[in-house]
Symmetry: C2
Subunit: 326 residues, 2 copies
């Protein structure tokens, strides 16, 4: 079996370290792996597939190494600085930042949904926003079958979406990462505000959903909210379809869908919830029910681990797809 | 000024004791007041308007007293047992339970919205569900002006909606009131489940919104979620109107509306949030923005103290309206 040379940028951060864990869990065929991070983390040790590695400081020269795939999990500024450089050296870049997501030449990939959007000459592949990934995994089989017309998202987002800082704000009841206490609160504020009153997070959900489905005609709106949850984002999703359906068909499509687990038996208190889904790989769907306010509508409750499927796992799945294509 | 004889049922509970506080704060013209509760609380002392009172055990004979208005905050079973009895003795009953809310002969009242629905011969007046109250206060001026066609509610509900038990589950990280831990979680489960997959809470929001607006043609759907917040429910509300509008007109209507305070300047981190609104009387509205997925749509974020405006205050306002009518 062919083995590959990887680099993980931001390897000591929350998403980066989860990528490392997932590469190991999934026995990714690694020949060499380079752990790159800021000067502050350089020198740290990481154990990977029974070998000890030293975290190296990220520099331009880092990309002179023999690297097949680089997983970028160090924020938009680092992608801006090194993304195209890495690509120019023939490295496949899988980028977790939002920088190139809406770039028309960059595919935005959720493996269960649109893996075929990756073309051989794509050098940078964008990993979508965490909330969007879990939404489209759940909605994909339904869109294929009944044609989504409009989506209304309301999110219940975990603090781990803001990295270690968000978790500390919640655990230590401090106010540093967020402008207000997150403990015992619900903050209708994820990422920065735009002039039109939306947050960047909301616009990401709207734009990325359309791009991943390859269908700009789908109507989408979103309200994004941070809640005092550590891991796993929850979404209340209202969907209108073009086509009619039986609610049993919706359930069947979800049960059969790749990457989806249905947990839906309210009378027995069975539904997806954040504390259960932390550390899990699938997208969990429950509260499946017809929306009686529309001719062809449903409501769903969709929960997934935002650090794993919402970021690190999705990136590793993209890397797996790339090597399987080769 | 005429003074009235009141009774408060469930006076030692979370809603009942808040009613007592609010009657005092608002200087309700009280001649005599009777605090009624279960045997367990009988004998407790309550200080009200500088007098000491003893909580009495609630019995059938309690309603033989000279009472003008009885505020019921002791749950549906107590309303079922004593509501009609009290009414038969000429007492105006303001009931916080859901028992008579959808009864066609019982008005369901939010003073800012439909106070004129109270007719002189109504003996029982129902206080709506907490989430519905704050929603309709915010939506009323917009419905009057632009005609609401459809509403999608997603709620972020505080544990105080379940009384002292809910607060204890959160504060003590115990699992007693809810089937699962509420700390660091988001539970898509408020009130019990129905066969159609909805919870009773969701159906209350749907049915009560239509009844309060007196318009069964309004389309409504809802997903209700409990979050680790102590006081104040937050709502993500998506609204479609029949008529076109400018977003400035929406803001203006909300700014001018009775019982509403607009807090909406995202770029300066100004928006309503639960920890700020605990203990406040108004309904706070922010994140006002056009929903670009519809021809005539908006998104709103609406927060109010669920124990005050969502229950106790609304009931006292109904009592005030009754005595002002007399």
């Amino acid at each position: 079996m062919k083995k590959y040379n990887l680099a993980v940028l931001g390897a000591t951060g929350l998403v980066g370290s989860t990528m490392v864990k997932i590469l190991e869990e999934r026995k990714f065929p690694v020949e060499n792996i380079y752990f790159l991070a800021s000067k502050r983390s350089a020198g740290d040790k990481i154990k990977f597939q029974d070998k000890d590695y030293i975290v190296e400081e990220l520099k331009e020269e880092s990309f002179d190494k023999d690297i097949d795939i680089a997983l970028f999990a160090a924020g938009g500024a680092i992608t801006e600085k090194y993304g195209k450089l890495a690509a120019s050296k023939g490295i496949k870049v899988i980028d977790n930042s939002s920088l190139y997501r809406m770039d028309k030449d960059t595919p935005l990939i959720v493996p269960e949904v649109n893996i075929n959007d990756i073309k051989d000459d794509n050098k940078i592949i964008a990993n979508p926003n965490c909330t969007t990934i879990q939404a489209v995994v759940a909605l994909k089989p339904l869109h294929d079958k009944f044609n989504i017309k409009r989506i209304v998202y309301s999110t219940y987002q975990a603090v781990s979406g803001s990295g270690v800082g968000g978790i500390k704000d919640l655990e230590e009841e401090r106010v540093e990462t967020y402008p207000y206490p997150i403990s015992f609160n619900a903050l209708p504020h994820v990422d920065s505000f735009l002039e039109n009153g939306y947050t960047k997070e909301e616009i990401k959900m709207i734009d990325e959903t359309k791009k991943i489905f390859g269908d700009p005609s789908i109507k989408v709106t979103a309200t994004c909210v941070r809640v005092p949850v550590k891991y796993a984002h929850s979404l209340s999703i209202n969907v209108e379809f073009e086509d009619s359906f039986k609610i049993e068909e919706i359930r069947k499509e979800l049960e059969d869908a790749s990457g989806v687990i249905v947990k839906d038996d309210g009378e027995n208190n069975i539904y997806p919830m954040a504390i259960d889904i932390e550390g899990k790989d699938s997208v969990y769907v429950g509260r499946i029910r017809r929306d009686f306010s529309l001719e062809n509508g449903i409501n769903l409750w969709v929960v997934a681990d935002n650090v794993r499927k919402g970021a690190a796992l999705n990136a590793v799945q993209i890397a797996e797809a790339i090597i399987n294509k080769k």
